[in-house]
Structure formats: structure tokens, C-alpha cells
Symmetry: C2
Subunit: 170 residues, 2 copies
């Protein structure tokens, strides 16, 4: 949850936004990096406001329904820096998708394992292709680096799956 707060504060470091914009940005650009949903973002924003990490100003444009514009405060900036340093420096609790399934593969015949993992391999390959074709965001060095990391890890996953599928095929 700390990472989610870091994300929200990080977005607001750049500029003040209303809730809808924040969520749109996340959905459109950051689906690789987080799966936080709209309702979650709104409730975190509410909590951040209560803790005075951000301020809320209600704004109305024309006849549209009123929107809440969020702006990061001094305390918020401090918290952002704290969370950022924590995030960069700690390697707590690495867990990898699918390890639980792997643990139990003895319950399935070898060929089926090979087939299922092959399916997974295919999906990873597709994601990689999309990633490598995608243009740089241009949001800054950090965002590019995060994408690089993502791609690097996906490539590792691909390599591993490939070797395991081989092993189980014959």
C-alpha cells in the first residue's frame, strides 16, 4: 500500500490534478506498473487529505459536476521523499508470480505441464513484443528505467520458462 501512496504522491509532485485525471493517467499509462483501481485511488486520496499530505479544492467548470483538485503539501513532499528512499533501498519480500503453482506440478502429467507452461511462455513473449515496440514515454529518465527493468525481468522469465518447457517436453 505504501507503493500506491508513493505513486499518487509522485504523480502530484508533477502537478495538481483532479481525481479523474489521476485515474485516467494510471489506467492509460501505468497498467504495467500497478493494478490499483479507481475506487482505491479515491479512498487513498481521501486518507492523504485527512493526514494533510495533500489539499483538496473543489472546482466547477461550466455545468459539469464539481471536481476535487488535489495538491501536494509540504508534509506530502517530505513523505514522498521518505517513501521513495524506502522503495529504492529495500528488497523486502520478493515474491514471483506462479511459484505456488509450480510447487504442485507433480500432480499433473509431464506433457500437460509442458503444454500449460508453453501457453504462459507465449503470453510473456507477446507482452515483451508490445513492450519493445512501445515508444519511450518521455516522462523522464526514471520512467524509462522502470520500463527497462520491467522488460529485463520479463526477458528473464521468458528465458526460464523456455528452459523448463524444454525440460518437460522430452
Amino acid at each position: 500500500m505504501d507503493e500506491r501512496v508513493l505513486l499518487l504522491l509522485g504523480i502530484l509532485m508533477h502537478e495538481s490534478l483532479h481525481g479523474y485525471q489521476i485515474n485516467e493517467f494510471i489506467e492509460r499509462n501505468l497498467s504495467r506498473v500497478t493494478d490499483m483501481k479507481k475506487a482505491t485511488a479515491y479512498s487513498l486520496l481521501e486518507r492523504l487529505a485527512k493526514n494533510e499530505m495533500i489539499t483538496v479544492r473543489t472546482e466547477q467548470e461550466g455545468n459539469r459536476p464539481p471536481r476535487k483538485v488535489y495538491t501536494i503539501t509540504k508534509r506530502g513532499v517530505e513523505e514522498f521523499h521518505r517513501l521513495l528512499q524506502e522503495s529504492l533501498s529495500t528488497a523486502e519480500s520478493y515474491q514471483f508470480r506462479g511459484d505456488i503453482g509450480l510447487m504442485f506440478l507433480d500432480h499433473l502429467p509431464r506433457e500437460q505441464v509442458a503444454e500449460l507452461l508453453q501457453q504462459r511462455l507465449e503470453q510473456v513473449k507477446q507482452r515483451l513484443e508490445i513492450l519493445e515496440r512501445a515508444p519511450k514515454h518521455g516522462f523522464g529518465q526514471g520512467v524509462d528505467l522502470a520500463m527497462e527493468h520491467h522488460a529485463f525481468m520479463l526477458r528473464s522469465e521468458h528465458e526460464w520458462l523456455h528452459s523448463i518447457v524444454q525440460r518437460f517436453q522430452k
Copy 2:
């Protein structure tokens, strides 16, 4: 949450156990693979019982407080197989620890980024050393494979962090 259910059913595929044993097993042996807490396991077991995936028998030994022994049912075995196949075959929503932090590293001076990532690198290295020294569990091929995967991915993370630290140091 599906993976947590898979884990519980998978454990019960091997033998009937009471809640405490299940939790002890998870804490002692599976901390690398899941961070599910005791209370969560108990509540999932309750739900599984309600859905007739498992049966509960209350047992009393001597004067000790009564315990609930959980046994997987036919429906539970079917569900286990369904979840297992799903887990092995899908690559939905890969996300990697720390990517959110990386996105915002432009807010910090280069040397500090290098220093923070160096700390993370050190922790990854330690985990790897522990992992590589650890004896095989002997719970079967699947468990070993899951550990192999975990180590493989950690090694990739190590490699990546190393290259990035280099890049940011000079």
C-alpha cells in the same frame, strides 16, 4: 487470492491437517513463496468449508483445546486442478517490486540513487546466498522447481541492480 486457495488445497492434497499445522508449515517453509498470515488462512479455510471444498472434523486430544482437522473433498480436488492449471498457464499481470520507486528517481541526486540501490543490491545478494546454501526441501520436484525459479529471478534482479548502480555511480 486464488493462489492462496491453491496453496491451501495443495497442502491438503498431501494430507489432512488441522489449522495450526497448516500455518506452521507455511511459516516455517513457505515464507519465500507467500506472505499469507495465520488469520487469513483460517478465514479462507472457513470459506472453503462453506463451499464444500474441504470438510471439517473437530478433534480433541487429551485435555488440549479442540482442533479442527481439514480434509479435502472431491469438489476440492477438482477445484485444485482447475486452479493449478490456471496458475501454470497464465501470465496475467506481471508486476515487479520497486518499479514505482524507479519511476520517480529523477527527484533524487544521482549519487543518492546509486547509494540506495546499492543497499538493495546488498540485500538481494544476502537472500541469494541463503537460498543457495539452503538444502533441498525434498517435498518433490515441483517445490524444487519453484525454488529454482525464485533463485533464477533473484539472480536476474541482482544482475540488473548491479548494472544500474554502475551506471549511476559515475
